[in-house]
């Protein structure tokens, strides 16, 4: 009956000190319909996400901010973008903050993550080096809201080399691809800037995918899966 209690915002939510409104928002998000993966790239909503963290070790470093930019029907609308700062909630802190400060930080973070859920909806998530982004976000969601996003991610780091086999993009770094397509980043390593640059990279990718016959996110997912498989077994 866990799913029911979660749905009702029961003990799980209350145990994390969520307000009724916060719990309701989360429940609302859960019930959004799943997107149809067989729609054309130019008829669906992709959400490109990047994060800034205290470092690059998934197991040690903590999430600091999230940047997200939507690509809807192939276009970027500046009004459809999100930038969130996430307070560091790591229990292992050198000097524990005062109780009130702790409480305020927690509420702000919960609200930020709920805003993120609202922004993403059940859109198709895209990132460059998706596993890192995904784990950073999933952990924050788990710690603060006690939920899992559970959405499929498209990792451009895997998709790009397959669509442009002749391009040698260094060690598969984002910078190399941005350079190759002449896309400027406003401020590298800022979550929103990188998400915006990556969103433009996605636009280029979708056009090329369409040209090569991968017309839907499902077909790109299949492409990515095949490449991972080849890579891991080879």
């Amino acid at each position: 009956m866990t799913w029911l209690s979660r749905f009702l915002g029961g003990q799980d939510a209350s145990s994390r000190g969520l307000t009724a409104r916060q719990a309701q928002s989360i429940a609302g998000w859960r019930h959004l319909p799943e997107p149809d993966p067989h729609r054309s790239h130019y008829r669906c909503r992709y959400v490109v996400v990047d994060v800034a963290a205290t470092g690059s070790d998934v197991n040690v470093d903590r999430l600091r901010s999230i940047g997200a930019v939507a690509v809807v029907d192939g276009q970027i609308d500046f009004k459809d973008a999100l930038q969130l700062a996430v307070a560091d909630l790591a229990p292992a802190r050198a000097s524990p903050p005062a109780a009130g400060e702790e409480e305020g930080g927690r509420t702000a973070t919960v609200d930020a993550l709920i805003a993120f859920l609202g922004f993403v909806g059940k859109g198709r998530l895209v990132a460059y080096n998706a596993p890192f982004v995904e784990r950073m976000i999933e952990r924050a969601l788990d710690e603060s809201l006690g939920i899992r996003l559970g959405l499929q991610w498209m990792d451009l780091a895997w998709v790009l080399p397959d669509l442009w086999r002749q391009v040698d993009a260094g060690q598969g770094r984002l910078d190399a691809w941005l350079d190759h397509f002449g896309i400027d980043s406003m401020q590298r390593h800022d979550a929103l800037s990188d998400a915006f640059a990556t969103a433009q990279l996605l636009q280029v990718t979708l056009a090329q995918a369409l040209r090569k016959g991968f017309e839907t996110s499902a077909s790109l997912a299949a492409l990515e899966k095949a490449r991972r498989h080849m890579h891991q077994s080879g």
């Binding site: 997200a68 973008a81 929103l192 636009q203 056009a207």
Partner: protein, 636 residues
């Protein structure tokens, strides 16, 4: 949803746009609005971003990265399509957006392209918010006008160049089907044929159409009349054998050389197989060289006979064509045609004065209608009259008879020189239009006092009078008297204004143009009735209301504008609109005449190119503005 992320992205967009015109001049608030409402789109290399087939333009495109090739669709008669490259910071489809039409050009990405797209509704909101942007768009449209004029000029320059150069091949010079006979045909039949068809020469060919001889009018005297050759003999017995031929590919210069060397007046153009394809005469070559304005005027002034004037009239036409090609505006060309036509008319009057004694009488030759307004086009008939002073009332009948006789001769000569007799009998030889000063004044006063429909119609023709020959001060007195009449009779001007409003600009609510004006010519617009007339009628009312003596529409508008507090821009726009319609008329008439038809004023909007259609629409809007002013002024 406005948040810090949006703020960051919008700021970045503003920073990108800021260095480029018109965004560099744009109000900060408007630029922010623009950046907030654009969407960033990507097009891969080779993608067609926008073209006419995609329907009405839905967004403004501002290039952010990459190059786009804009290729204009060739319009009516335009030589070829042109293409330009657009780069970052440049915008496109402004014209199509403003006119809410499909674009005339196609835009293709030459490499990976990112561009900001502003939806049409936001585009219009922006033109409202930003005067800088509005001005930019307006100037863009004005640029299109210039572009269209350049296109017209190019078109005519080509045609004129083809006609003028001595390098043109004979194939381009010979136009008519050659007339030829076979060697056995009797002389009588040949001469009859030549007389009937006004031919100066006849080519004699064998059964394969290869020329074997030529027979010219000058041979008739020397070889037939004087020796008394029987007319039943075959033409071969009197023709000049072994005619001079040139291949069709030879040029006019070759022909001139051959004529000079052999002392002949005709050269036969033949194809590869030696078959006759045409005759080039000395006169054809003369025409090629063209004539300048000064030579023409000189020729007209020195002309001693109607025959010489007939040629001069053709030269006037040729020269106006050249002027069209050189990019001279419609106002100047119509004025020029009027001026030279005046010169021809004056010379005809002078020639006739030798035969008619009008000595001692004060009189003036008047022109009416388009000639009176200095706005003649290629197709024009006579509209003239005479005013004279009769000191003794007893002499009036006799004096008028003398003028009528004189006028009949002048009218007939004008007809021979290419000014057809007026179907409505608006000619000096009409006793109703050959009047004393007092009679003219009475006539005008009568029309002004009783503005019934016929009187109003008359006003639109006769009130545009202008003296052409004789005592110009008589016309001035007529004008002053007319202003006295109209000044004291506001009802008349009101009726005249109402009359001017009886025809509306053919602008449609749904379609661009209303083309149903003439059931006999569906799909066309009569540019005289539904174009030029809208301007001339309005200008006439303005001129009469403000005692402007000028009869020319542009002059009338300019002089009345000051009194009516017209802004400079509004005035310039009206004149531009009027001139554009005149230019279209000139071009159309020229085209029609080149194809052997009588030049009419019926154009097909569908046959115009995109830019011309747009400008024509704007010209009609200007006419509507003048009409609105009339409505306001006269509470109609």
């Amino acid at each position: 949803m406005s948040n810090s992320a949006t703020e960051t992205l919008v700021s970045a967009c503003i920073r990108f746009l800021r260095p480029y015109p018109p965004f560099d001049q744009m109000e900060a608030e408007a630029l922010r609005f623009l950046a907030e409402h654009v969407r960033l789109a990507h097009y891969p290399k080779g993608a067609r971003i926008l073209s006419g087939e995609m329907g009405v333009a839905r967004a403004l495109y501002i290039l952010q990265r990459g190059k786009v090739r804009a290729k204009s669709t060739p319009g009516l008669g335009s030589v070829e399509s042109s293409s330009i490259n657009l780069g970052p910071g440049q915008s496109f489809a402004i014209g199509a957006l403003m006119a809410q039409r499909p674009t005339a050009s196609s835009y293709v990405a030459r490499e990976d392209v990112f561009c900001y797209e502003l939806p049409a509704d936001d585009f219009f909101a922006l033109t409202q918010k930003s005067t800088v942007f509005n001005l930019f768009c307006t100037q863009h449209i004005a640029g299109l006008l210039k572009q269209s004029q350049q296109q017209l000029q190019l078109q005519f320059a080509q045609r004129a160049a083809e006609q003028k150069t001595m390098n043109s091949p004979l194939a381009a010079i010979v136009k008519r089907e050659p007339v030829s006979v076979e060697a056995a045909v009797p002389i009588r039949q040949v001469v009859e044929m030549m007389a009937e068809r006004h031919l100066g020469s006849m080519v004699v060919v064998d059964q394969q159409q290869v020329p074997v001889g030529i027979f010219t009018l000058s041979d008739v005297l020397k070889r037939i009349v004087l020796p008394g050759t029987p007319l039943e003999q075959p033409i071969s017995s009197v023709m000049s054998a072994v005619p001079q031929t040139l291949l069709l590919a030879a040029n006019a210069h070759d022909a001139a050389l051959l004529m000079a060397m052999r002392g002949i007046r005709h050269v036969l153009a033949v194809d590869e197989g030696g078959r006759l394809r045409g005759v080039v005469s000395e006169r054809d070559l003369f025409k090629l060289q063209g004539a300048g304005l000064r030579q023409i005027r000189h020729a007209i002034d020195a002309a001693s006979s109607i025959e010489v004037l007939q040629h001069a009239r053709e030269d006037v036409r040729q020269l106006s064509l050249t002027m069209l090609a050189e990019g001279v505006g419609a106002a100047e060309i119509t004025q020029f045609i009027s001026t030279l036509n005046d010169t021809v008319t004056r010379r005809i009057i002078e020639l006739n004065l030798d035969r008619h004694d009008l000595y001692g009488i004060d009189w003036a030759w008047l022109s009416f209608g388009s000639e009176g307004r200095d706005e003649q086009t290629f197709t024009t008939d006579q509209d003239n009259g005479i005013v004279f002073i009769c000191t003794d009332i007893m002499d009036r009948e006799l004096t008028q008879l003398r003028f009528l006789e004189f006028a009949r001769d002048v009218n007939a000569d004008l007809d021979r020189c290419g000014f057809p007799l007026c179907k409505g009998n608006i000619m000096a030889s009409n006793p109703d239009l050959c009047l004393t000063l007092e009679e003219w004044e009475d006539k005008f006063a009568q029309w002004v006092r009783t503005p019934e429909p016929q009187a109003l119609l008359n006003a639109t023709i006769f009130f545009d009078f202008r003296p052409l020959y004789g005592r110009f001060n008589l016309a001035h007195r007529m004008r002053l008297s007319l202003f006295r009449q109209t000044g004291g009779n506001p009802l008349f001007l009101r009726m005249l204004a109402q009359n001017a409003l009886s025809v509306s600009p053919p602008l449609g609510r749904v379609r661009d143009f209303v083309t149903g004006g003439d059931p006999e010519h569906p799909g066309t617009i009569d540019l005289k009735k539904y174009g030029v007339r809208l301007f001339t009628d309005a200008a006439r009312v303005f001129a009469m209301a403000h005692s402007v003596e000028a009869t020319n529409t542009v002059q009338r508008l300019k002089r009345a504008a000051a009194a009516m507090h017209f802004s400079e821009d509004d005035l310039a726009a009206s004149i531009e609109g009027f001139n554009f319609i005149q230019l279209l008329r000139l071009r159309h008439q020229h085209f029609e005449q080149e194809h052997g038809r009588e030049g009419d004023n019926l154009i097909r909007p569908d046959a115009l190119n995109e830019i011309e259609r747009r400008i024509l629409k704007e010209a009609f809007r200007q006419a509507r503005k003048l009409q609105v002013r009339l409505k306001l002024d006269y509470q109609l």
